[in-house]
Structures are given as C-alpha cells and as structure tokens.
C-alpha cells in the first residue's frame, strides 16, 4: 500500500463551510427548483387554484352573494394558494425528504438546521409570489377590482404562511411520508370546501360557522376578503387567529419534528 501523503494532491483536505448566505441561497434555489419540477406539486399549487378561479369566476355555480363573483373568489383563491404551498406542498415534500434521508444527509453537511428551515421558507415565499402574480393577472382578466390596504394583505399572507408552514412541518416531521401525503391532501380538500375559499361560510349552519371560522384557512380567506372585497382596515380578529395558529404550529413543529 502506498504511504499516506504520496498522492497527487487532488483530494488533499481543505475543509470549510461556505459563507452562510451562499449556503442558504443555494439551498433555497434547489428547494424551489425541486418544487417547480414536481408535477403533483404544480397541480396542487398552480393548476387547481387557477382552474377554480377561472371556473367559479366565469360560471355561476356557487352563490357568492352580491357583487362580481371574482371579487368574492379572488381573495379565497389567494388564501388557497398560500395553503397549497405552505401547508400541503411543504408537508408532502418535507415528508418525503425525511423518508429518503435528504434531511439526514443535509444534517451532516455544513448547512445548519435553522439554515435549512430558512431556505425552505424562502422557497415557499418565492413560490407564493409566483402563484400570486399568476392568480392576480387571471383575476384582473376576469374583472377583479380589489380594494383596501396592501400592507394588511401582506401581513395576512405572511401570518398565513407562518401558520400553514408550522402545521405542514409538524405533519411532515411526525407522520410517515405516505400518511403525510394522504393527510395533507385530505386536509387540503376539506379546508377548500369548509374554509370559506369558494363556498361562503354563511352557507353552513350557525354552530358550524363558529368552529369553521377559527380555522387558519377561514381566517386567511375571510381577512383577505374583508380587505380586498370590502376595503376594511386591519382585520385584527383574523390576524389574531392566524398568529395563534402560527405560534402553536411552529412551536409544536419545533418540539416534535423528527429528522429521520
């Protein structure tokens, strides 16, 4: 056997972590690329919200109350878009990353865990921006006339993202990947129907309305609707509900998330 140190020098150790911003940037870029490449994810995050907006915005299927249907629908569909990316998409992707040892492998790389989580959040936000641009363009084409304070909208979207991310990561970090896949899709469907996205909450019995109104999707769609459709100021009640979900969800995810 040749002696140590007689090699060509190609592999001579030069260990070191890349600068943190570069690591997080690279991780966020890769996560976003993986998400946009995944057909099932695109169905969930792009195709379904777009179809619902176009279908319900141009055909009178659900009674959406007074005014243009799109003025009622667009805020709900924006809420759905946030949920599809921050909750359903992130839960499924992270669940399978955990299952296939991606999280485990990255945990021994120089990227710290909080850096990985930051990158995931950046990737979710980038995807949401793309969704919101697309859906806004379509809504305008359907005659949407939004009102209200853009800052309130931004705050709702950010808190909604935090709330759904916490719940999605909690699911991905505790359940099996297959269970996460099934449960995340089921929850998506249930909240789509029962969360005031396309069906107004006042179509449900009064008792159910009180409970449904506390769901993060209802708070987000209701808050967005208050601002964008009715021109309300800060929807503090809905922001409060989202904040509670965000704190509880993220804390539980932080506590119970298992990396492998």
């Amino acid at each position: 056997m040749t002696a140590v140190g007689t090699g060509s020098g190609t592999y001579t150790p030069r260990p070191g972590a890349a600068p943190l911003p570069r690591m997080i940037g690279a991780q966020a870029a890769l996560e976003t690329k993986m998400l946009l490449r995944n057909g099932e994810q695109l169905l969930l995050t792009v195709v379904i919200p777009t179809l619902l907006l176009v279908l319900f915005g141009s055909v009178d299927i659900v009674d959406t109350g007074a005014g243009e249907a799109v003025d009622f629908l667009a805020p709900g569909i924006l809420a759905l878009a946030v949920m599809s990316t921050a909750f359903t998409g992130q839960a499924i992707a992270t669940g399978f990353e955990r299952r296939y040892g991606v999280l485990k492998r990255l945990a021994s790389s120089p990227l710290p865990r909080w850096g990985l989580m930051t990158a995931k959040t950046v990737s979710v936000l980038v995807t949401e921006v793309l969704q919101i641009v697309l859906l806004t363009v379509i809504a305008f084409a359907l005659g949407w006339s939004p009102q209200g304070n853009p800052l309130a909208v931004l705050l709702l979207l950010v808190l909604g993202t935090a709330a759904f991310s916490g719940l999605g990561l909690l699911m991905a970090g505790t359940l099996k990947a297959e269970a996460t896949l099934a449960a995340a899709n089921l929850v998506f469907l249930l909240l789509l129907v029962g969360g005031g996205v396309i069906v107004p909450l006042d179509k449900f019995p009064a008792a159910a309305q009180d409970v449904l109104g506390l769901l993060p999707i209802s708070a987000l769609s209701d808050g967005l609707r208050d601002v964008l459709q009715h021109g309300a100021g800060m929807p503090w009640g809905d922001l409060g509900i989202l904040a509670v979900w965000a704190v509880v969800g993220l804390a539980a995810a932080g506590r119970f998330f298992r990396w492998e």
């Binding site: 140190g5 007689t6 060509s8 190609t10 001579t12 690591m23 492998r105 945990a107 021994s108 790389s109």
Partner: protein
C-alpha cells in the same frame, strides 16, 4: 503520518428502547483507512452514526477529530464527509445537480466535473435520482461524501451491490483519498475490501469491538495456518512430527498428500523441506494456506446465521 487519532470512542453505550445496540464499545482510529466489520445488527451503523453526530450516546464519550460530534457539530460538519447506506438525495434531483449543490455548501470543494467524470456519473445525464441504477446512486453518495474536501470520510457499505467495475472505481478512489491524507472510516461486509484497503480493521460483534489490528496482525494472530505438500505415499509422519516444533501437527490425509498444521513461518517451511531432503523426498505442490480475514471473522463471530 499523523499519529493523533481521528476517532476516539470510549465505553460507548447506545440503546433503542430495551435493545442495546452498542454495549461499551472502545475504538481508536488513526489516520488512514479503518474498516469496521461485523455481522448484521452488530452495532456498526449505530457506532458510525454516533460519530457523525446523528445519535446521542447514552453513555461513554465520542471524539471525532478531537470534537464532540453532538455539541461541536457546527465545527465538525465541514471537516467530515458522510456517505449514508442509502438515500440522501432529493428524488427529483439530477446527479450533477445534487453534487454541485453539496459542493456549494463547502468553502473549497473539489472540481465537480472531474469528480463526475472519475466516478462515471456523466452518463446519468438528465435522469432524476429515483430513476438512477443502484450503482449510480451509490457512486453519487460517495461523490457527495468527498466533494467538500473533508479530512475524514465515513463510508457506510460503499460498495454494497456494485458491479465489479464500479467496485474497483470505488476502491481506487479510497486509495487516492488515503494517499492524499484523507482518513476513511469504512463499514463493509466484504472481507477482501477490508483486507485490500485498510490500515486497520475493527471487528464488532454484539455492540463491542472484539478484535482490532492491521489485517496482517489479525490474520496472523490466533488462527493456525496450514502447509500442504504431496510426495510419495507412506512417508514416516512420526519422524516428520519429531522434526517440527512441539505444537505442530502432521498427517497424511490421502496417500501421498500431507498436511502440516501450526504457526507457519519461514522457519517451519525450512524445517519441512530439509526433512524432505534428508528422506530423499521431492515435495511437490508445496503450498502455504494463510488464514484470510474471512476465516478470522468467522472464527470470532461464529458461523451460524444471525437472526
């Protein structure tokens, strides 16, 4: 060669529920290649994963490059390279994409194109990870472990399921790593792999190290070796036995076929041939059967199948 240990494990205990996976394990690995051998369930992967910082010891101490893998993880991670037994890659990522990504997490990575070329990953093209062959997935995992130019590389069964060409390529890379001063901790089921590549071998069974040393030392120690020759039938075995050292054996197995057992060294070989010369015997087909690492391994860990 550096002599300070790259790995120091003392009295490591790791339990999963009421099952003890590692039971007071001591292991010191120095610069170079250390192979960790053991039957399935012996505690190899648990030990290695504790060194990588994945598991917290229930008791005992672990130091890797002088650092605590759990508490000093941030300082340690850039200095080590990890190849998991399986997985570790986004199912939708391409091989080159994933390798370039891991390279970006390091300050001074290897030339990714050269590494892709060297490990034959160029043919993976635009295929996503989940559609790569098992061998391609293994080679990608190996590339990911070395691309950051680490000081110490952990390879968990790096050639399991590889075809002979890929196995050679992996061996060659491990030899080059060693020559360039990278230390390697290698778990494997292949005795020839351990024999060919490693400076040191640790055999683990039931959560403890039961033998540790260079492959030569392990093969020499304990086990008896055998010398065989053929000559004319009916030689006086008793006379041969008298010429040999006390603890040797000699027998005519079949007419004209003789076996001498004992510590086979040059002296013993000379004794046998000079006895033959004295008795006018031409020993044909004289052969020394050295114990292989596999013999030693089976002797130490038993031949019966494990649950």
């Amino acid at each position: 060669m550096r002599t300070e240990p790259v790995l120091q494990v003392q009295a490591l205990v790791k339990r999963y529920g009421d099952k003890t996976a590692v039971n007071g394990l001591d292991l010191v690995a120095r610069a170079g290649v250390t192979a960790v051998l053991g039957p399935n369930g012996a505690g190899k992967t648990t030990t290695v994963e504790t060194c990588e910082g994945y598991r917290r010891p229930d008791s005992g101490t672990v130091r890797v490059l002088g650092l605590d893998p759990v508490r000093q993880s941030a300082a340690l991670r850039p200095r080590i390279g990890v190849m998991l037994q399986s997985g570790g890659v986004y199912s939708g990522a391409r091989a080159d994409e994933m390798l370039r990504h891991v390279a970006k997490l390091h300050a001074a990575p290897l030339d990714v194109d050269a590494l892709i070329e060297r490990l034959g990953l160029g043919s993976c093209g635009r295929t996503s990870y989940r559609r790569l062959s098992g061998g391609q997935q293994q080679r990608l995992a190996l590339a990911m472990a070395v691309v950051g130019r680490p000081e110490l590389v952990f390879l968990d069964e790096p050639t399991a399921g590889l075809d002979p060409q890929a196995r050679r390529a992996t061996w060659d890379l491990i030899r080059d790593l060693r020559a360039d001063g990278v230390s390697v901790i290698l778990t494997t089921h292949y005795m020839d792999e351990a024999e060919q590549l490693s400076d040191d071998v640790a055999i683990i069974d039931a959560g403890r190290v039961i033998a540790h040393g260079s492959p030569e030392d392990l093969c020499r120690g304990g086990a008896e070796n055998t010398l065989r020759f053929t000559g004319r039938p009916g030689l006086d075995v008793g006379s041969l036995l008298k010429a040999l050292p006390a603890d040797c054996t000699a027998a005519e197995l079949t007419p004209g076929s003789y076996r001498v057992g004992g510590k086979v060294d040059p002296q013993l070989l000379a004794t046998v041939t000079s006895w033959c010369a004295q008795h006018g015997v031409m020993p044909d087909r004289i052969s020394v059967e050295r114990h292989t690492l596999e013999d030693v391994f089976l002797e130490l860990t038993g031949k019966e199948l494990r649950a």
